[in-house]
Amino acid sequence: MANSPSTASRDEPSRAFLDAVSGPLHPVAVQTLLAAVDAGWADPRRLHSEGRTARRLLDQAREVLAVGLGVGPQEVCFAPDGPAGLRLAVDGLLYAGRRRGARLVASAVEHSAVLVPARARAARSGDPAVLGTVPVDNLGRVDADDFADQVRRPGTVVAALQQANAEVGTIQPVAPVRAACRAADVPLVVDAQATLGRLTPPEGYDVLVGDARSWGGPGGVGVLVLPERTRWSLPGAVDPDESLTGPTRHTPWVPLALAAAEAWQQTQSERERDARTAFTLIEELRAAASRVPDVDVVGDPVDRLPHVLTVSALYADGEALVTALDRRGVAVASGSACTSSTLEPSHVLAAMGALTHGNIRVTLPLQAVSPARAEHVRRLAAALPEVVAEVRASLGARAL
């Protein structure tokens, strides 16, 4: 197969890709992935030299992530992806704490991988108190004292909080929440799926969850940090390969793990500089969006992820905005009901009291992944007023 088509689509200058939640991969990680497909394809459990090579490469990948996160390699575990890792993180703490209770406390804007199973457990047990939801303010932030009140309630065995929200960017008060959790002897899961590679990794947690996609790595690599002091276990028989799979009982495909580690190293060396320029670009975009009439610019303007922006345009629909921007070569996401598979609006926007219709969301790629991102942001800023006006006109909502 000729390699020109894929190369052409990667370098296509006319597309502004501003929805970097699932990629693309860091270009150096692409090279590593391709090399590892040749060198690290074997089953790392096998004793032949191909298997031992794969094992060595997997151990290297784990070591890189451990050093980056400031933990021991035996504390780094894998999961099929970030959301699966989050479910595992909660399940293992619930199981370890089952004699003390079954209650989970989480913010109202946590990932669905935390909230949906928790609501199902509450419905199944017939006890709504099994889930304590901490409300957020209109910037999307929990109050640390409210969180502490919830965590102190009897039967609480798990708390979960994001380092920052992936949809609206608002950074959560993880340090005081962690202190309250320690005082109440409740383990805290910190969801860093949106932050690793963009912010300094959190230090205070009982389980940390990440996803390689946030730092320019491939899909299919969820990372859990399970510090030795944390009481965490899954029901069922112990995996005979536990020395390889770790307590999460998951071994990633070695080339993916290696590409994740490569992307981590590349991203870490550039992180602070990348975050500074991304922060400024999003600031420009916030200003441009707020000049469009009746547009709600959502989330904390300052204490936020450097690379995320969500805005909602009154009297517009999200699907039409995404489609109209796509026609102009700009790719963005949306949290509006009409763009979701369930036809429900984003629970994050709803919990904040923000407008859910007419929503578009930008997640900037890393500079190394998308060297033209500044130009792409400016193209979106220029297109936004006319696209919003066009969609409003099509809905007969021009002069409201």
Partner: protein, 82 residues
Amino acid sequence: MSLHDSQPGPAAVVDARGLRCPLPVIRLAKRAQEAAPGEVIEVWATDPAAEADIPAWCRLRGQEFLGAHGGEHTAYRIRIVG
């Protein structure tokens, strides 16, 4: 609308049942343009997004959200402030 005619109600009803976002809010905004200050508008909607979007519209437009009550559809009450 005959089912609701017998109920004591607000001055104006916007029937947005079966409409998807953002149409319920657009209908509300159009009706609000004709409303006098102090008038109460009730919006009937089945779209789940209306639950977030009608209070958000009130906040963005400085109108007063009075509350909502459910049933086969949800009825949202808004007082037009100005």
